[in-house]
Subunit: 148 residues, 2 copies
C-alpha cells in the first residue's frame, strides 16, 4: 500500500526535504555542515528553555546517556549540558521536523533553570516597543553556581 | 548603578555572548552568516510548530506586518509564511535568547496547521525505540491546499 505521504505537495519554503515523508526520515546533518539545531522544551511547563546544536556524536551520546549533550560552537567540543552547574537535562521525548533538519527535545530541567545567567529560560529578553526588556524568572545566582 | 548582570559568569557552552547582559542586547545576525534561527511556538497551546530562519530584512518585515516572514534557504528569497496556503502566523510575542543568536516567536497559527504536509506541527516524527514514528494531528490534506 502506498503511504499517504509518499507524494508530498510542492514545498512551501524550507519543506523541500518532504520527499522523505512518513517514517522513512533521517536526521540531516549535512545541511548545517554537520550540525543540527536542537530546540529544548520543558516537558512539564512547555516553556522553551534554549536552543543548542548537535553533531552526530552529540546526538549519539544524548541517546546513550539520556541527558542532552550538545556541540559547543564556541568551544568546539562536546558539551554535556549541566557538566559544570549540575543542571542536566533529562530527555523525555524526541521529535524531528518534516525536513529532518531540526530536533525538538522535551526535557526535565534539573535545578529548574537552563540559562547560565540564572533564568529558567535563555529566552528572557522580550521585545516591547522597539526594545529588548528582561523578562522571566531568575532561579539562581550565577556566581553561586559558576563562581566569581 | 551597576546592572546585576553586567558581569556574567564564565559561560557554559554557547553562552559566550553573555557580556551583553541586561536589556543591552541585539540580534546577532553575524554568527549565522546573516541568518538567525527562529523558533515558532503556538501562543495558545505552547506547541512548537516549526523552526525557520530570518535575515535582517525578514525580521524587519515581520515587525512591520506582524506576520512571520522568513528567509527560505532553499529558494534563497523572502518567504511570507502562508503566502501560498493562507496559513499566516500572527505574531503575539517575541523573545531573544541570552546570546542574541536565536529568536522565539509566539504566534496565532491561521488554519490551525503550520506544516506544509498538513500537520499542526512540523515536528511530527517522534523517536521511539530507534525509529522515527509519525505522530501528531493532521489538519488538512496538502493536495487541497497546494494542489496536486
Amino acid at each position: 500500500m502506498k503511504h499517504p505521504l509518499s507524494n508530498p505537495p510542492p514545498s512551501e519554503g524550507e519543506g523541500e526535504g518532504g520527499g522523505k515523508g512518513g517514517s522513512v526520515i533521517e536526521i540531516d546533518f549535512k545541511k548545517g555542515d554537520g550540525l543540527i539545531p536542537v530546540i529544548i522544551q520543558d516537558a512539564s511547563t512547555h516553556e522553551i528553555l534554549m536552543l543548542g546544536y548537535m553533531n552526530r556524536e552529540a546526538w549519539e551520546k544524548t541517546l546513550k546517556t539520556n541527558r542532552a549533550t550538545f556541540w559547543s560552537r564556541s568551544r568546539k567540543k562536546l558539551w554535556l549540558k549541566g557538566e559544570t552547574s549540575g543542571h542536566f537535562q533529562e530527555v523525555k521525548e524526541i521529535y524531528l521536523d518534516c525536513d529532518g533538519d531540526t530536533l525538538l527535545l522535551k526535557v526535565d530541567q534539573m535545578g529548574g533553570a537552563a540559562c547560565h545567567m540564572g533564568f529558567r529560560s535563555c529566552f528572557h529578553h522580550r521585545y516591547e516597543e522597539g526594545r529588548w526588556e528582561v523578562s522571566g524568572e531568575r532561579i539562581f545566582d550565577p556566581k553561586e553556581v559558576y563562581g566569581e
